[in-house]
């Protein structure tokens, strides 16, 4: 019975999302919202995918990875090669971007995920930088001057990718496999003792997260006409990390919300680049002082609409204290 109720809420939210997507499409094609806002919208969309994908790695599985821009870069370049060099359709570029990043995730994940905490962070940071340097030195993809890419990212592709990302990550999380990942985050030794193959689930979460970061990379590459290695520095990794931490470690809606809010803030601060970083940092410091658990804590948006307690609910403070 409970499950049926859950399924009903699930389908209605999908229908709502699709209606929203179609409405946006009309607004865009009817040129009711101007180019600047459309561009911001694309920015937001790509950041949502990035935030959700890192949320799976850090928020759910608890693996502190700070080289996420590396996967973004792999996805961006792989898809650009598919569409620009091989002149294949964009959809193949999207898939190739995701797959290439997932493979990169496996290659980096299998040796490094046995590291813990700070060590893993340093290793992933190193990975991100290595990826950037590698692309910087490959002449085939333009080296430092970058690679020109046609604008192919459109709202339907972007919206479809967001929906797919959120659905897959949500479905994965709310299953025995997701619980296995959460148990790794909560207590790795106990998870091991309960028969969970902790290394396997860390690698799986890492690969799925990397896959969607790669998809985001493909969308990113085909939105900005040019991709350069400098776009994927470690500051980009930190941007994504901030979405996840600010939104609340363990909450996907939190990460999405933070991605939307921060993208809007930084877009409007673009004319004052030096102020942007100051305000960004201030927001973070204030947040960590007054609400260290992030915007949402570990709760999900849906838990506010349910009577009784959500699967992850039961946090000490009531929903009324939640700043959003």
């Amino acid at each position: 019975m409970n499950m049926l109720k859950g399924a009903k809420g699930f389908w209605s939210s999908i229908v709502l999302a699709v209606v929203f997507g179609i409405a946006m499409q009309f607004l865009i094609t009817g040129e009711i919202i101007n180019f600047f806002y459309v561009n911001t919208l694309y920015f937001i969309g790509i950041n949502i995918i990035l935030a959700a994908s890192l949320h799976l790695i850090i928020g759910i599985t608890g693996q502190f990875s700070i080289g996420h821009a590396g996967f973004l870069a792999v996805g961006a370049y792989a898809s650009a090669i598919i569409t620009m060099k091989l002149e294949l359709p964009f959809v193949l570029g999207l898939v190739a971007g995701g797959v290439a990043a997932a493979i990169a995730g496996l290659i980096i994940g299998i040796p490094t995920l046995r590291l813990k905490g700070d060590y893993l962070a340093i290793a992933t940071l190193g990975f991100g930088e290595i990826v950037r340097i590698v692309f910087l030195n490959i002449e085939y993809v333009g080296g430092a001057s970058g690679m020109t890419v046609t604008q192919l990212t459109t709202w339907p592709w972007l919206f479809g990718s967001i929906l797919l990302t959120l659905l897959v990550i949500r479905n994965f999380t709310n299953s025995t496999h997701g619980r296995a990942c959460i148990s790794v985050r909560e207590n790795e030794i106990a998870a091991d003792a309960m028969g969970i193959n902790t290394t396997y689930y860390k690698v799986v979460a890492f690969a799925i997260g990397a896959f969607f970061a790669g998809v985001a990379g493909a969308l990113y590459a085909h939105n900005f006409f040019i991709i350069q290695p400098t776009n994927f520095g470690f500051l980009k990794s930190f941007d994504i990390l901030i979405f996840v931490v600010l939104g609340g470690l363990g909450s996907m809606s939190g990460a999405v919300l933070a991605a939307i809010l921060l993208t809007i803030v930084s877009t409007f601060l673009q004319s004052y680049p030096e102020l942007r970083m100051i305000i960004y940092s201030l927001v973070l410091i204030i947040m960590m002082l007054y609400r260290p658990q992030g915007i949402m804590g570990t709760r999900e948006l849906t838990s506010f609409f349910k009577f009784g307690k959500s699967a992850k609910g039961g946090v000490n403070d009531g929903s009324k204290n939640t700043v959003a």
Binding site: S175, T176, I182, A193, M194, I196, G314
Partner: protein, 259 residues
């Protein structure tokens, strides 16, 4: 009873960390259905020995066999699947998960649906998840935890957290249950409840239990046999009565008698 083949057989097992012999030459046998205590002063190597049994550490010498299968060098999760499950001295629950989900994690190895079936929400996902949920709820009823099953684990009172940890260990369907100081920090009434609980689960799940404990009342009260560990070596073995009067044990606990 003596004719039964041992469930757990430990031959000369030991581990050294660099030059330090934390545990050495431990020989121990548990028969199916026994409740055995492992006692010893602080730092004697009791928990280290548990870590050897569960694969957290790999023994540097000797062998460990469960039902004739060698366990040396297996990853902890594989040893759990073979049938050894444990609780921890300092409670290790999945704090942010609900009580129900804590137990469901232990059922993970039973789940037959793949990651893909969960991602695409195939029928198999729903049937398996439903099966796990029903099993977990039923299980929590045995432990009187069904009324708090949606509570977050970290919000439970201490005694219930201990009980949940034992429930979770049992949900992994072990042949051998290792309890690491289950009564630590409990008051006499809670300790008594715990003793009843141990007796109950033993009967109900046909278990073999090895327990580390400092509370002598509990150890002497429920264990049939007791092993005593001191400085990483077994110094005595026997019934509670024998252990109580063993001069070596008295020496280890109280220091040498002045004559």
């Amino acid at each position: 009873m003596a004719v039964k083949t041992p469930l757990l057989k430990v031959n000369n097992a030991g581990i050294r960390f660099g030059g330090l012999k934390a545990v050495s030459d431990v020989n121990l046998e548990l028969k199916q259905g026994e409740l055995v205590g492992l006692i010893g002063p602080n730092g004697a190597g009791k928990t280290t020995f548990f870590n050897l049994l569960t694969g957290v550490y790999v023994p540097t010498e000797g062998s460990i066999e469960l039902d004739g299968d060698k366990l040396n060098g297996l990853a902890p999760y594989k040893i759990t699947k073979k049938g050894i499950s444990r609780t921890f001295q300092n409670i290790r629950l999945f704090n942010e998960l609900s009580v129900l989900d804590n137990v469901k994690v232990a059922y993970h190895s039973l789940a037959k649906h793949s990651i893909m079936s969960s991602i695409f929400r195939l029928p198999k996902h729903f049937s398996e998840e439903k099966y796990m949920e029903e099993k977990a709820v039923e299980f929590l009823k045995i432990f009187n935890l069904d009324n708090v099953m949606h509570e977050t684990a970290k919000n439970l009172p201490y005694g219930q957290q201990r009980r949940l940890e034992i429930a979770r260990a049992l949900a992994a369907n072990p042949k051998l249950l290792l309890l690491d100081e289950p009564a630590a920090g409990m008051n006499p009434q809670e300790t008594e409840e715990l003793m009843n609980l141990i007796a109950l689960i033993r009967k109900r799940f046909d278990l073999t239990i090895l327990l580390i404990e400092h509370d002598m009342l509990l150890v002497m009260g429920v264990c049939e046999r007791i092993y005593v560990l001191d400085h990483g070596q077994l110094i005595a073995e026997g019934t509670p009565e024998q252990i109580r009067n063993n001069p070596k044990v008295i020496e280890a606990y109280l220091g040498e008698e002045v004559s």
